[in-house]
Symmetry: C2
Subunit: 468 residues, 2 copies
């Protein structure tokens, strides 16, 4: 039996979380190992945030032609989209981003610091990779996630794609169903429709985009229903019908050529030997961990990124990785603040949720500042005056608690609000800020005025004025 | 001689500042008068921010066709722009915005509260309007501004337009010069060029867009020079040549059909009888006022908006009006904080300046965080990866002092920075905020990391981590 290699830190997974953790670890020690099974390049760059944004941009630019007549631009009827060329462009950008990730990370490692292979825990600090054993003082689990694919659909897998295959498609057939209308379903479903695919959307929930707020949910369903038909509230079934697939949801059914299954992602925990940690696992098989230390039980083992099954977003993966790496590198485990929740769906208009979600709010102290996008000057000018902003505040103090936004530049307004919530600002603080004209930030200002009108404590001075 | 009417507050001018002041005054008293000479509707809605943004949107959408081939969209060569239809669309939107202003303001006033006419001071609290006299306990001067037009060009006035005439044009001739490359010159010059007018730009300064920062200025000149030729550093001369105008700047000269003179705006102070205030006037004839009280000398007279000749931007006009109105309504004059400076040019890419300007910075304590837009992922996806972000910080403490931005979504990033400066945040505070992926806010994050690397005080923990 070969010698057991000993390292200070072992990081399992070279995605966003693993690479971020590695970036911190390598500043402290050369004696670490990064172990990765499967493709290099993060989920984000390969099959997630980046290629989806490139697809959305192409679809959006093609879609803008419907404004051309109003703008005095002639010839829009001559425009056509070659989806295979569009996808080629998306892949070119994707390859640029993937190459960048790899050349900035694994390519820079020294001999032995990187192992291609699947790691398995034999004990909390003992790993097996490619038949060899590694004893690590500390371990960071960052194995990421994979798309959910129901067992029942595996037989039809050649006509049912996930994001793992989506961006490899040379072209799309005339009719597709998108099953699962969360972030990915909305972003890709709308883009496909705008690129001339006949799309039908399904979700077993009665809402879309993860929206809990009943008003915003209604507005989102109304807006997105005009993009493509949505069937909500019942799980979709798929059956083969000749060369096609029949997707059925309750009384509705539609015949399509292919299906995009966008049912969410599940943590990559199988085959990791997590039972050998001796720590409790949750129903999905994810070790129970502390959200502020990322530590698993009291083990020298930490977890970060999509594999936690919690906040599968790049910036949270990075943050978790920093916490995990910090704790892996120090003798005493420290608890850190988590970021203000921030979730963005880059459909058009954007959907964003910031801070406390609807279901977490204390309704007895809740005031909601609301502004529909319809009359907003700049939104009208952009030809994008659809949506609604709802800002949640404490009705006694005016403290901003959260928001749900559907509107153009929602992604940007969401940052303003998230940063305000990070600083525990009130509606009064925010109304004293400058708002340029004419910008979408003024729609937020209007929502904040509406919120302020409902807050019990009123400032003695006009809210825009602050004594010198 | 008729009786002198007595009012609590007289407001001269029904633009943004006058209407904002009126909105506050009417909540305290019915006994006020709003006096307006000339057209109703604010400069912003009639000839400023709103129609220019509508023009920019049309031009931008037409310009995006150059990305179509890359995106797999065919037929761009069939697109054409009918400028007269585009301008018709711009005017339709403008009329909507002007109507909205009027119906929300002067239309709601009672008999006698609104007078059409030009007011003149006979004494600090005695006005003459349409031959009648008004005694006002307090007066707010809000007469706005008008475009600068050199005396020498008046003879050629039918071929030289300002923004006062620009949006009334049914169409534009094939060749135009834009003289003055500040906000308006850049916004309109670039839009005209994108709408197929052959545009040449001139400015007597060696910079454009009001940029003082030498690096940003150079980047802006490089980017905008690719849009249309710029001749900088010498005052332009105009001479008639047949039916055309020859515009000459040093050795360069160009023959054009019409000229847009965008040389800035001057305060409307002539014929107001300001000599009769008995207060000192500056070189332009504007009464000297206190920037935090908006009071003129120790008179019961206040000034707000473009007429101050200082910050001719809508949101500052509104803020000044609130300060002026507050002080006009109270016995004791109070000094208020001014907003963090925020200036945006909505050319493509946007140019924005926030906080302290280059010339106001203490260079001995200055650290500059810089990020070029070239490699920024989302900017690449948008086909807009041009520009640079420069964030100014105190190199001892890391406090954010100001920024100059040239890039896509500069208008939105500028708000994040202005709000941060309002709260006196440091680069460390900002780097602890959430940044979603992939968004332009990440380019700001990169500039902030670059800034932090130059700051003398370093936090003991990684900057992204905050103890719970």
């Amino acid at each position: 039996m070969s010698e057991v290699r000993e390292v200070e830190v072992a990081i399992i997974g070279a995605g966003t979380a693993g690479l971020t953790a590695m970036g911190m670890v390598r500043r402290h020690t050369k004696n670490f190992v990064l172990i990765n099974g499967g493709s290099l390049g993060t989920t984000c760059a390969r099959v997630g945030c980046m290629p989806s944004k490139a697809l959305i941009q192409v679809a959006e630019d093609f879609h803008r032609r419907h404004l051309f007549e109003r703008f005095g631009i002639g010839g829009m009827e001559s425009l056509s989209i070659d989806v295979s060329e569009g996808m080629e462009h998306v892949r070119e950008l994707r390859d640029t981003f993937v190459d960048r990730v790899i050349s900035n990370s694994t390519d820079t490692l020294e001999e032995g610091q990187f192992i291609e292979g699947y790691a398995k825990f034999l004990a909390p600090t003992l790993l097996e990779v490619n038949g060899a054993q590694i004893r690590a003082h500390k371990v960071i689990i960052a194995t990421g996630s994979r798309p959910v694919m129901p067992q029942a659909w595996l037989a039809l897998r050649d006509k049912i794609m996930t994001t793992d295959e989506f961006f490899e498609q040379a072209d799309f057939p005339p009719r597709m169903a998108v099953i699962g209308l969360g972030v990915i379903g909305l972003e890709i479903g709308q883009s496909l429709k705008r690129m001339s695919v006949e799309v039908t959307g399904f979700d077993q929930l009665k809402t879309i985009g993860g929206l809990q707020d009943p008003v915003a949910s209604q507005v989102a369903i109304e807006i997105m229903s005009k993009e493509f038909p949505l069937y909500l509230g019942q799980a979709a079934q798929i059956t083969q019908e000749g060369e096609q697939l029949r997707v059925t949801s309750g009384e509705h059914s539609v015949l399509v050529d292919k299906v995009l299954a966008s049912l969410g992602r599940r943590p990559n925990v199988a085959n990791l030997g997590l039972d050998n940690l001796g720590a409790p696992l949750d129903a999905r098989g994810v070790p129970v961990y502390h959200p502020n230390t990322l530590q698993i039980a009291d083990l020298p083992v930490f977890i970060a990124g999509d594999v936690t099954g919690d906040k599968a977003i790049l910036h949270e993966a990075g943050h978790e990785a920093r916490i995990a790496a910090y704790n892996a590198l120090h003798d005493t485990v420290m608890a850190f603040k988590r970021k203000t929740p921030l979730a963005i769906t880059f459909c058009d208009p954007n959907i964003a949720m910031v801070g406390k979600a609807w279901n977490e709010l204390d309704q007895s102290r809740l005031a909601i500042g609301e502004m529909p996008l319809g009359p907003v000057g700049r939104a009208l000018i952009m030809g994008k005056n659809k949506g609604i902003l709802r800002v949640y505040g404490d009705k006694q103090t005016g403290k901003i608690l959260g928001a749900v936004l559907m509107g153009p530049k929602g992604e940007n307004l969401a940052h303003l609000l998230a940063w305000a919530i990070e600083q525990k600002l009130t509606v009064f603080n925010l109304l004293a800020m400058p708002y340029y004209h004419p910008v979408l930030e003024e729609a937020l200002q209007a929502a904040l005025y509406n919120l302020m009108s409902q807050v019990e404590i009123k400032p003695s001075l006009p809210v825009e004025l602050q004594p010198l």
